[in-house]
C-alpha cells in the first residue's frame, strides 16, 4: 500500500504542471474554442512524448503505466487543455492490443497522427459527437458488436458545443474490423478512458475550487472578504470534501486497471461518475461565490463550469451509465454487494 505519488510521478507532475501552465493559459483555451483543439499544443505534447507514453516500449512508446499517464491527465484537466490526450492514448493502446501491426501505429505513437475512441456504439454506422472526432485521423469504435477502426477523414471542424470540445460525427460503418466480437476490447478502452478522465476531472475541479477560494479571499463585501463568511465556507467545504474523495477513487480505479484487479471496470465507472458530479459541483460553487463576475465571459471560472459538464456528458446521459453499472453490480449472480 502506498497512497501517495512516487518520486518519479512527482517529477512527471512537476514537468507537466509547468508545461501546461506555460503552454496552455486560459487565453489558449479560448483561442482553441471553435475547433476544440490546439494543433500547436498537441505538437508540443508530442515533442514531450505524451501521446505514446503509455504504449509499450516494443511498440515505440514510453512504456509508462496508466498511473503515470494519469498524472499528466490531471495537469491537462487543470488547464482545460484542448487536446484529445486521453482519447488518443486509450485508442492507441486498444489498437495495438488488437492489431499491433496496423500501419498507423508508428505515427500514432509519435503523435504525428491523432486517434480517438467513439465512447458510444455507432448507430447505422455512424458514431455521433465523438470526442476528438473533429481532428482525429483514426477513430476506434463499436459498430454492430464489432470493434472497428474508422476510415473517413477528419472533418477539421467541430460541432459547436457547450464545452468547446472537438466533437464531431464520424462514420465507422465502412471501417476495418479489428475484432468481430469486440465488445470486451471496446469496454476495456472505455474503462481506461473513464478512469483517466476521472483523474482529469479532479484536476479540473481542483483548479475550479482554487479559482473560487482565491477570488473569495480577494473580493470584499460588507467590508470583509466574502470567503470569511461561514455560509460561503461551508459551501466550499462540502465540495472540497467530495473532491478529496473523488481524487482517491479516481486513482484507485487507475491502480485497479494497472494491476489487473477484477473490480477495475466497476471502479472506473464509479470513479468517472463521481468525478463528473464532483467537478460540476466544484465549478458551480466557485462560480456562485464569484457573484456576477462568475458568469462574465472574461472570467475563467465559467470555462470550468461549462467544461465540467461537457467532459462528463460525452459518454452519454449519466443516468444511463448509472443503470448500466447497476446491471453489473446488481446482477443476480454478482458477488459485489455493498458489503463485499
Amino acid at each position: 500500500m502506498r497512497l501517495e505519488m512516487t518520486d518519479d510521478e512527482i517529477a512527471v507532475q512537476e514537468v507537466f504542471a509547468g508545461f501546461f501552465a506555460d503552454q496552455c493559459p486560459p487565453d489558449a483555451v479560448r483561442e482553441a474554442a471553435d475547433l476544440g483543439h490546439s494543433p500547436d499544443l498537441w505538437k508540443r505534447l508530442a515533442e514531450m512524448g505524451a501521446p505514446g507514453m503509455a504504449v509499450a516500449v516494443e511498440h515505440g512508446g514510453g512504456g509508462a503505466t496508466l498511473s503515470d499517464l494519469a498524472v499528466v491527465a490531471a495537469e491537462a484537466g487543470r488547464r482545460l487543455a484542448p487536446v484529445p490526450l486521453i482519447e488518443h492514448a486509450v485508442a492507441v493502446r486498444g489498437l495495438i492490443a488488437t492489431d499491433p501491426g496496423h500501419d498507423a501505429v508508428a505515427d500514432l505513437v509519435a503523435g504525428d497522427r491523432i486517434a480517438t475512441l467513439a465512447l458510444r456504439a455507432a448507430i447505422e454506422g455512424e458514431a455521433r459527437l465523438v470526442p476528438g472526432g473533429a481532428v482525429a485521423d483514426v477513430v476506434l469504435g463499436l459498430a454492430d458488436g464489432a470493434l472497428v477502426v474508422g476510415g473517413d477523414a477528419a472533418p477539421g471542424a467541430a460541432q459547436a458545443n457547450t464545452g468547446d470540445l472537438a466533437l464531431a460525427n464520424r462514420t465507422l460503418g465502412d471501417g476495418q474490423t479489428l475484432a468481430a466480437a469486440g465488445e470486451t476490447e471496446w469496454r476495456r478502452m472505455v474503462s481506461e478512458w473513464q478512469a483517466l478522465t476521472a483523474v482529469g476531472l479532479t484536476g479540473l475541479a481542483q483548479e475550479a475550487l482554487s479559482l473560487g477560494t482565491t477570488y473569495a479571499m480577494e473580493r470584499e463585501q460588507f467590508g470583509v472578504p466574502v470567503g470569511s463568511f461561514q455560509a460561503v465556507q461551508h459551501g466550499f467545504a462540502n465540495v472540497a470534501t467530495s473532491l478529496e474523495g473523488a481524487v482517491f477513487l479516481a486513482h484507485k480505479a487507475v491502480w485497479a486497471l494497472d494491476s489487473g484487479n477484477a473490480d477495475a471496470d466497476r471502479l472506473a465507472a464509479m470513479a468517472f461518475l463521481f468525478a463528473g458530479e464532483t467537478a460540476q459541483a466544484c465549478a458551480a460553487a466557485s462560480l456562485q461565490y464569484h457573484g456576477g463576475y462568475g458568469y462574465a465571459e472574461e472570467y475563467d471560472i465559467q470555462l470550468y463550469y461549462r467544461q465540467a459538464k461537457a467532459r462528463t456528458l460525452v459518454l452519454g446521459p449519466p443516468s444511463a451509465e448509472y443503470r448500466r453499472l447497476a446491471d453489473v453490480v446488481l446482477a443476480p449472480d454478482s458477488t459485489e454487494g455493498a458489503a463485499a
Binding site: A216, G227, Q230, Q233, A237, T241, E244, G245, L267, A338
Partner: protein, 389 residues
C-alpha cells in the same frame, strides 16, 4: 499509488470476519435492539482476542495494533452491524489515562477497561454545551484531598451500564473558558450520582447524569488542575485515531436490495428492476466506495505517522451526510412499506430501513457535528480564515 493491503492485514481481515460470523448472532443484534448499543458477550470476546488492548499504542503498554488493522476491524464490525460504542470508549479512555493519568488510574482503571470487565462513558456534553465543549459548567471544587462535584452531563451514553465516566469539569470560572477545565475519572457508583434515561427517536438509550455533592479523592483526577483542555486535545486525537463510522450505509443498501428482490412493483415485476431504485442503489454504492477510500487514506496517514485530522473530518462529514441521504432515498423507494416498524418477535432483520431512518440523524451530530467538521475543512484544508458567523 497502490491500494492493496499488506498480506498480514488481509489475513487479519479474514480472522475478524470469521470471529464476527461466529459472535455477531441474531441474539446479539436483538440485545442491541433493547436500545443499549452494547453486547457484553461480544465486548468480552473481543477483549479476549486482545483487540481492546491491542489498539492501545505500544509506548503506552498496549499491543500497538496498526491503525490500518484498526480501520479494518472497525470496517468489518460495521459491516456486521456489531455495536462498537463500548469498544471505542474503552480504547479511548484507556489511551488517555495511559498517556496523561497517574499510577493509580493506570493500575486501577486501565486493566479493567481493556479486559472488558469494566465499561466507560464519555462525560463531555452538558445541557448548555455541545459543540462548544469548553463551555462546560459542571463544577469541581477542591476540599482538602478531595474534590466536590456538582452539575449535569448530557448524552452520557452507556452510563447506566458503565463503571466509569470521564468527566470534564470547571475548576476555575474566573479565567478564559479553555483555561479553567479539569478532567476526572469518576466511578459511577459514587454517592450523589443519578442517571436518567434519554431516549432517542431511534429507540437508542442515552442518559442525562446528575452530580450532587459527589466527593472524589484527588487520585481520580486526570491530568493537571485547569489543564483539561490539553487532556481534551489528547482525547480528540485518540477519538480520531479510532474513529469508526465510515461504513454506515452498506447494511442499509443490503437491506434495501433484500426488500426490493421480493417487493412487487406497481406495474408488475419486482422493485429491484425499477430503474430509479437501481440508480439510487448504485449512487449509494459509489458513496460507500468513496468512504472506503477515505477510511483507507486516513488509516494510511495514521500508519505512517502523518497528521490525519483533516481527512478524519472529511471522512466523518462525507460518511454521515451521505448515510442520512441514503436513508431518505430508500425509505422513499419503499413508500408506505418503509414506514412499517419492527415489532416484538420480528427479529433484527425486519424493518431495518425504517430503523436506519430514525438512527441516521444521530450520525451527522454526535462525535463532531457536520458544521464543526465543515469549519475544520474550510480552515485547515482550504486555508480560509476563521469564519464570520
Amino acid at each position: 499509488m497502490d491500494f492493496s493491503y499488506p498480506a498480514d492485514v488481509e489475513a487479519f481481515r479474514t480472522e475478524v470476519q470469521e470471529f464476527l460470523t461466529e459472535h455477531v448472532t441474531d441474539a446479539v443484534l436483538e440485545e442491541v435492539d433493547t436500545g443499549t448499543v452494547h453486547s457484553d458477550d461480544l465486548h468480552k470476546a473481543m477483549a479476549a482476542k486482545g483487540w481492546l488492548s491491542g489498539a492501545v499504542p505500544t509506548e503506552l503498554g498496549g499491543g500497538g495494533m496498526s491503525p490500518l488493522k484498526m480501520s479494518v476491524l472497525i470496517e468489518e464490525l460495521q459491516l456486521f452491524r456489531a455495536p462498537i460504542d463500548a469498544m471505542g470508549v474503552a480504547i479511548g479512555m484507556a489511551s488517555i489515562i495511559l498517556e496523561l493519568g497517574n499510577d493509580f488510574l493506570k493500575g486501577e482503571v486501565v486493566p479493567r477497561l481493556l479486559s472488558g470487565d469494566a465499561l466507560g462513558a464519555f462525560g463531555y456534553s452538558e445541557p448548555e454545551s455541545g459543540s462548544d465543549v469548553a463551555a462546560a459548567q459542571t463544577k469541581a471544587v477542591r476540599d482538602g484531598d478531595e474534590w466536590v462535584i456538582n452539575g449535569q452531563k448530557m448524552w452520557t451514553t452507556m452510563a447506566h451500564v458503565a463503571d466509569y465516566v470521564i468527566l470534564l469539569t470547571r475548576t476555575n470560572p474566573d479565567v478564559p473558558k479553555h483555561k479553567g477545565l479539569t478532567f476526572f475519572i469518576v466511578p459511577l457508583d459514587s454517592p450523589g450520582i443519578e442517571i436518567q434515561p434519554v431516549w432517542t427517536m431511534g429507540y437508542e438509550r442515552s442518559n442525562a447524569t446528575f452530580y450532587d455533592e459527589v466527593r472524589l479523592d484527588d487520585k481520580w483526577r486526570l491530568g493537571d488542575v485547569d489543564g483539561g483542555w490539553n487532556v481534551m486535545k489528547t482525547a480528540l486525537k485518540f477519538e480520531r485515531g479510532i474513529a469508526g463510522g465510515q461504513f454506515y450505509s452498506p447494511p442499509l443498501i443490503d437491506a434495501t436490495i433484500d426488500w426490493a428482490t421480493d417487493a412487487p412493483a406497481p406495474d408488475g415485476g419486482a422493485m429491484i428492476d425499477d430503474p430509479g431504485l437501481r440508480e439510487s442503489l448504485v449512487r449509494a454504492m459509489i458513496d460507500v466506495e468513496v468512504c472506503r477510500c477515505f477510511a483507507q487514506k486516513t488509516a494510511y496517514l495514521a500508519d505512517t505517522g502523518a497528521p490525519f485530522g483533516v481527512e478524519g473530518s472529511m471522512t466523518k462529514l462525507f460518511a454521515s451526510e451521505t448515510f442520512k441521504k441514503h436513508s431518505h432515498w430508500f425509505m422513499d423507494a419503499m413508500g408506505p412499506d418503509g414506514l412499517v416498524k419492527r415489532v416484538e418477535g420480528d427479529g433484527p432483520h425486519v424493518a431495518f430501513v425504517e430503523e436506519t431512518f430514525r438512527h441516521a440523524p444521530v450520525t451527522t451530530i454526535y462525535g463532531g457535528t457536520s458544521e464543526i467538521n465543515r469549519n475544520m475543512v474550510a480552515e485547515a484544508h482550504l486555508g480560509l480564515p476563521r469564519a464570520r458567523r
